[in-house]
């Protein structure tokens, strides 16, 4: 029974719960047993609080028994990337710096999940402070790709993607700063949704690059992604960048009649550097939309394809160096035992607490913000960012959404890019522009490369048009069965 349950979409699981065919406790035990059986190999979790989750499952069953269910997420386990705060739970950001940190409060996304009856399930591995594209930059060791344990699951939300792909959680939350949801979703063969900047509150999300970070969802189906997004979205006075606009009914939007969408295909995203198998699978997906009556328009985005990665690594590292200045060994986090005075405490606590990629980015970010270099690097990158936003706005005048590969290659081998940061940064080449422009993007499975390595189709939407984005994604999903294929573990 349990192996049948673990790969059912949440929408189906909640039907089973509502009909009394399973209890929330039984459901949770199926995922806990799966994690127990496979996580020694996948290593998606940094930690799992089984007794705490079981207690919440029992409370959910008790509510349902008296007709007070909180809705479709009541009693559903939701995996959380170890960067989103849950009161009383660890929040390590996969860093030695926060190895012993316990959250004193809930993130707003967590508050909303709990209010819907969902069960926060485990702390999922990631690249340290969300900096990386492979989940190898974790102080607790890398996560493996469930499709091929010798390969990376992508990153930075690799633990979230791997947990869902391996059937250890039905859905999960991650964060996406430059592709950190879409890229691991592509590598692990699941749905990964990064909402428009400002749709989901960042309160309680440990900050990496505040102008780019956004919480989003991992799921097996587009409808599950819509369900979870509808739960966590909305204005929050505690995040001044969250927008005070009404949250649409994302699931209802999926039931609207199909529209002949105008879909743009940025030709530069299919240029040199793209693995031919990935390109072929994505072109087949584009053909599907054409056959379905959509209008396919080739568009040109030379500016984004040429400059997005460079602008991103200046802006993101600048913001990272500023945000991570808070880790000084004084109020919380790792404190060096070797320090003799206050200044020495900062230097040594940070040296001992941060891993290599975080240090590298702090140095780069500090440099581009430093006196004499600010205008040449940071200010110029912010201006280039304006031009990238304008380029997206120009193509969206004639397109409802854009189609592209999510990644230039399928999942690479563990260790393959570890010594070459620039090569790692370039693996985010198709996803980064979306964050700079603040747009919503989704990756959905669209085939397999080299036999068993999933391929992702990226769909980029207009700001706050998640309803269109999800409907376009679901149109493809309903005509294909990639999302029903699962790794053999």
């Amino acid at each position: 029974m349990s192996t049948d349950l673990i790969y059912l979409p949440v929408t189906k699981l909640s039907d089973l719960l509502a009909a009394g065919k399973i209890s929330s406790v039984e459901l949770f035990q199926a995922f806990a047993a799966r994690a127990e059986a496979v996580d020694g190999r996948v290593k998606a979790f940094n930690s799992r609080d089984v007794p705490g989750a079981l207690e919440m499952a029992r409370a959910s069953d008790a509510r349902r028994a008296v007709g007070q269910s909180k809705g479709p997420l009541d009693g559903i386990p939701v995996g959380l990337k170890d960067v989103i705060a849950v009161d009383g739970q660890p929040l390590t950001c996969s860093s030695k710096m926060l190895a012993n940190y316990l959250s004193p409060y809930d993130a707003t996304a967590t508050v909303k999940l709990k209010a819907a009856g969902a069960i926060p399930w485990g702390r999922l591995n990631m690249d340290e402070f969300a900096m990386g594209s492979s989940t190898e930059n974790s102080a607790f060791g890398p996560t493996a790709n469930p499709w091929d344990l010798t390969r990376v699951p992508g990153g930075s939300s690799g633990g979230s993607a791997a947990a869902v792909a391996a059937g250890e959680a039905p859905v999960a939350l991650g964060s996406d700063t430059g592709g950190s949801i879409r890229q691991p979703a592509a590598f692990c063969g699941i749905v990964g949704l990064k909402p428009t900047y400002g749709l989901v509150s960042r309160y309680g999300l440990a900050a990496f690059a505040s102008s780019l970070d956004q919480i989003g969802t991992f799921a097996h189906t587009v409808e599950d992604a819509a369900l979870v997004l509808g739960t966590i979205a909305g204005h929050d006075p505690r995040d001044s960048t969250s927008l005070a606009i009404p949250v649409p009914d994302f699931q209802a939007a999926l039931k609207q009649p199909r529209v002949p969408w105008r879909l743009g295909v940025p030709k530069e995203f299919f240029g040199a550097g793209l693995d031919p198998e990935i390109g072929a699978a994505v072109r087949q997906a584009i053909e599907f939309y054409r056959r379905s009556g959509c209008e396919i328009r080739e568009v040109s985005m030379p500016f984004t394809s040429e400059y997005a990665v460079a602008a991103y690594y200046i802006i993101a590292t600048a913001e990272c160096s500023s945000n991570l200045a808070r880790y000084d060994g004084v109020r919380y986090g790792h404190r060096s035992k070797e320090a003799t005075n206050a200044i020495d405490l900062y230097f040594k606590s940070r040296a001992e607490g941060f891993g290599e990629e975080v240090k590298r980015r702090i140095i780069l970010g500090t440099y581009v913000l430093s006196s004499g270099y600010y205008d040449a690097y940071y200010l110029r990158a912010q201006k280039v960012r304006s031009l990238i936003r304008d380029e997206f706005a120009r193509v969206f005048k004639e397109c409802d959404a854009l189609l592209s590969p999510t990644t230039p290659t399928a999942a690479f081998k563990l260790g393959e890019k570890a010594a070459d940061p620039l090569s790692m940064y370039l693996s985010d080449i198709y996803t980064i522009g979306v964050n700079l422009a603040g747009l919503p993007g989704i990756s959905i499975p669209c085939g397999f490369a080299a036999g068993q390595l999933p391929i992702g189709l990226q769909i980029i939407g207009q700001p706050f048009k998640e309803t269109d984005l999800l409907a376009i994604a679901q149109q493809y999903e309903q005509a294909h069965d990639w999302h029903r294929q699962h790794p053999k573990l």
Binding site: N100, L102, P104, Y105, G198, S211, P237, S240, T241, L243, G273, E306, Y307, V309, A310, Y313, A325, D328, G329, V330, R331, Y332, G333, H334, T340, N341, A342, I343, D344, L345, Y346, F347, K348, R350, A351, F354, K359, R360, I363, L364, T366, Y367, A376, Y377, R380, A381, Q382, K383, V384, R385, S386, L387, P421, L422, S423, Y425, I429, A437, L439, P463
Partner: protein, 149 residues
């Protein structure tokens, strides 16, 4: 046999027969080290650069920057980061090709400005909870080494 393709400041770059580029750094602490930089094909594909003459990679005074960041680095880290960051800085040099005359800088993508909160009291964290992660505390205060000798 390697072919010298260019000498820039303190660095000499070689193109090898397998198309990889190697940088030889003349920095005093790194004499004799030959480090892989980037595969030529990769470089051409992603950087649009056929190894034609380009701007020299900017020099970063890593000790100065690490001091600004209050981050103690080992000699090995300094050497490794100097090499890697030079490569990354060289990559981002391409932004200098862009004409940004009259372009407004973009700080974030959210169309909101000057968000004000009501000045009304609300419950905060209890002291014990606010201090639960403090490395050292006494009498509801955080303890740390002397700031002034």
């Amino acid at each position: 046999m390697e072919e010298v393709i260019r000498i820039i400041g303190t660095k000499t770059q070689f193109l090898r027969q397998d198309e990889s580029i190697f940088t030889y750094s003349h920095c005093p602490n790194r004499i004799g080290t030959i480090l892989p930089v980037a595969n030529r094909r990769f470089h051409r594909l992603f950087c649009g650069d056929n190894l034609t003459p380009m701007n020299p990679a900017p020099e970063m005074n890593i000790e100065y920057v690490a001091n600004l960041a209050r981050l103690a680095l080992t000699e090995a880290e300094k050497s490794k980061f100097a090499q890697q960051l030079a490569e990354i800085l060289h990559y981002v040099e391409k932004l200098k090709q862009v004409d940004v005359t009259g372009v407004e800088p973009m700080a974030h993508a959210s169309p909101v400005f000057n968000v004000w909160a009501e000045d009304s009291p609300a419950a905060g964290l209890p002291v014990e909870k606010a201090l639960q992660n403090a490395p050292a505390q006494r009498d509801h205060l955080i303890v740390m080494p002397k700031v002034i000798e």
